[in-house]
Amino acid sequence: MNTGTQQRLEDINQNYAERYGFHDPEDYFLKAPKGIDHELVEMISRKKNEPQWMSDLRHQALDIFRAKPMPTWGDTAMLGEIDFDNIHYYIKPKGEQTSDWNEVPEQIKKTFDRLGIPEAERKFLAGVTAQYESEVVYHSIRADLEKLGVLFMDMDSGLREHPEIVRKYFGTVIPTRDNKFSALNTAAWSGGSFIYVPKGVKVEVPLQAYFRINAENMGQFERTLIIADEGSSVHYIEGCTAPTYSSDSLHSAVVELIAMKGARIRYTTIQNWSTNVFNLVTKRAHAHQDAVVEWVDGNLGSKLTMKYPAIVLKGERAHGEVLSIAFAGHGQHQDAGAKMIHAAPNTTSRIVSKSISKDDGRSSYRGMVKITKGAHGCKTSVECDALLIGEHARSDTYPTMDVAESDVSVEHEARVSKVGEEQLFYLQCRGLDPDKARLMIVNGFIEPFVKELPMEYAVELNRLIELEMEGSVG
């Protein structure tokens, strides 16, 4: 029996290197040199055989990206470390996209096998895309959904096969000039998911996309657009990992959701990038009348994450939820939060944010709730809980409330707690060693989040946290 003297927690994701941090030898069809300019943007657009309007949009976006200053808020010191000239903006792996797993190039197949992707598809998914560097290499959707008219494919195929839908909605939720990184994404985007669910169709089983970065100094700029037509529903899940390198990579996605009248979209993210990845993502949804949009957002990995999933409640009685957890370990800063814009009467929203900071990890909650003039009878509640483990962990909250009507209900609650000595002692008095006790406390803390995940993900997340909290391996 262990004598229990091992009181210290090891680093978060301390076995990341073996589980996810491995990399394949580089064997690409095309690897663009580092840096971004109009020539590269033109090359990407040509390779993809895009319509002129998209090509124009990319060039415009590059100019906007260059003109926009870096954010002056958030972790400006860490942001300052990003070297935009030291990034590969486009890498195309060998092989063509396929819906036959056997046709995926051997090395890439091995990687995704190791990450459990095809297994997950067999077990509990209605469709899968797997993106490797800049391109989706594998894609499948259950035949019955296809028959119902559900579209689920990578964004490039979406643009090729359904240009009218893409042109109508692309960039309407998040305009190019929204921020520096949305502009960069618009200039360099490649891959991501395109989903359209027809009126009244309910996709009961989740669709999943998995994003994998392999090369060092890679920039991944996937672009996702999900449209749920009237009365339809869909649950989309994304996961991601990358090798551990000593120099940084950049992941900067743009995700736009549109929930039409009475539709429901749930978007679940389990972000587990290696700790050399900057994760700067813009996610926003439009929820029309009686629609429901939920962001379920888990951030475990990355060096710096800045991500504030937003919902604009545009139609009466629309409902928005953002439920997030962040886990910041040594050297990590999770700057996450939510934005909720009540732009119509009787809309309701809920934000629940939980963060765990360990060692010198930092987590910040940055949230904004806005109730616009004329949005009568709205209800919103915000709940932030931060758990600190150790003396050097840090947590900050930056909540903003902007309320232009008076007949509304606004609740806000923020708590910071330490893994309490008394909780630890209590559990130890019942025979649990300190590591088990801490794990139990942490698992309890994130339980409200975990219970929103599909079972398989809940198990996986609990397992990840367990590995991260373990005193020693083996």
């Binding site: 029996m1 004598t3 229990g4 003297t5 309490g420 000595e421 008394e422 909780q423 002692f425 209590y426 559990l427 130890q428 008095c429 019942r430 025979g431 649990l432 060693d433 300190p434 088990k436 006790a437 139990m440 406390i441 698992n443 309890g444 803390f445 994130i446 339980e447 409200p448």
Partner: protein, 264 residues
């Protein structure tokens, strides 16, 4: 006194310090299997400090020896003491939000056994304990001590004691804040626990529960020491006369016996 082999618990010249301040100033105690002891003392006299220190609470510096079934345990961390059969029922049980009572109990029972309890066996054992202590079934899925009433928490402490089958159970004011029915249930639990392999020490400042659990021995604790010991009649005397007279008899200022005196 130490010669008898079936002592489940003993401590010798136990001293407990917070910083330089001594709170427990030399305590000797021995509890044998099947025995029920009561340790009585006014509020603030250091009873909880003694109980927590015996269990290995990290905020205290402890001198002297503590034995469980003859084996020295004073160098062991709390979870090792628990696994060897020591149980502390808390005066203020701690809430752990998000952790269900069932998951917690299973982890605790497995830790005590040194092996995972099979699910079915565990469930049966849990259901039996719930019925015995009249705890509503839906408590299995509630979060540990989270939003429980004082009485509910105390019942759950006794339930844990029964499920963990300790060799020595130390109960810190498990009787306080209970209505009469709950008090009887708790006392029955204590009577059941004290058996051929188990001794119990009930820490209290209140004699009421002693009517139901009938202690074999009563120790009066004041100013950091056991100042008097006797049979159950001693408890009745304390009930009738308060603590001050003993304080005077043993030469303690009543005020020095405890910060808060003998109010109950």
């Amino acid at each position: 006194m130490n010669s008898n082999g079936d002592a489940v618990f003993s401590c010798r010249d136990l001293r407990v310090f917070v910083g330089d301040k001594a709170i427990v100033k030399g305590v000797d105690l021995e509890v044998r299997a099947g025995e029920k002891h009561a340790l009585m003392g006014p509020n603030g006299s250091g009873k909880s400090t003694l109980a927590n220190a015996l269990m290995g609470h990290p905020s205290y510096r402890v001198e002297g020896e503590i034995r469980l079934g003859g084996e020295r345990i004073d160098h062991l961390p709390p979870h090792e003491r628990a696994r060897r059969g020591m149980f502390l029922g808390f005066q203020y049980p701690v809430a752990v939000p998000g952790v269900s009572v069932a998951n917690f109990l299973r982890a605790a029972v497995s830790a005590r056994r040194g092996a995972d309890v099979p699910v079915r066996e565990f469930r049966q054992q849990m259901q039996a304990a719930f019925a015995e202590l009249q705890v509503p079934k839906d408590f299995v899925s509630r979060y540990l001590n989270d939003g429980f009433s004082g009485g509910e928490k105390k019942r759950l402490e006794i339930l844990q004691m029964l499920m963990l089958a300790p060799t020595f159970a130390l109960l810190d004011e498990t009787d306080s804040g209970l209505d009469i029915d709950a008090l009887k249930v708790v006392a029955e639990g204590v009577n059941k626990a004290a058996g051929p392999a188990t001794g119990v020490l009930m820490v209290t400042h209140y004699q009421r529960i002693l009517n139901y659990m009938k202690p074999d021995r009563v120790h009066v604790f004041m100013g950091g020491r056991i100042v008097r010991a006797g049979g159950p009649e001693l408890a009745h005397e304390l009930e009738a006369r308060g603590y001050d007279w003993i304080a005077r008899e043993v030469g303690l200022e009543p005020a020095a016996a405890a910060a808060e005196g003998s109010r109950t």
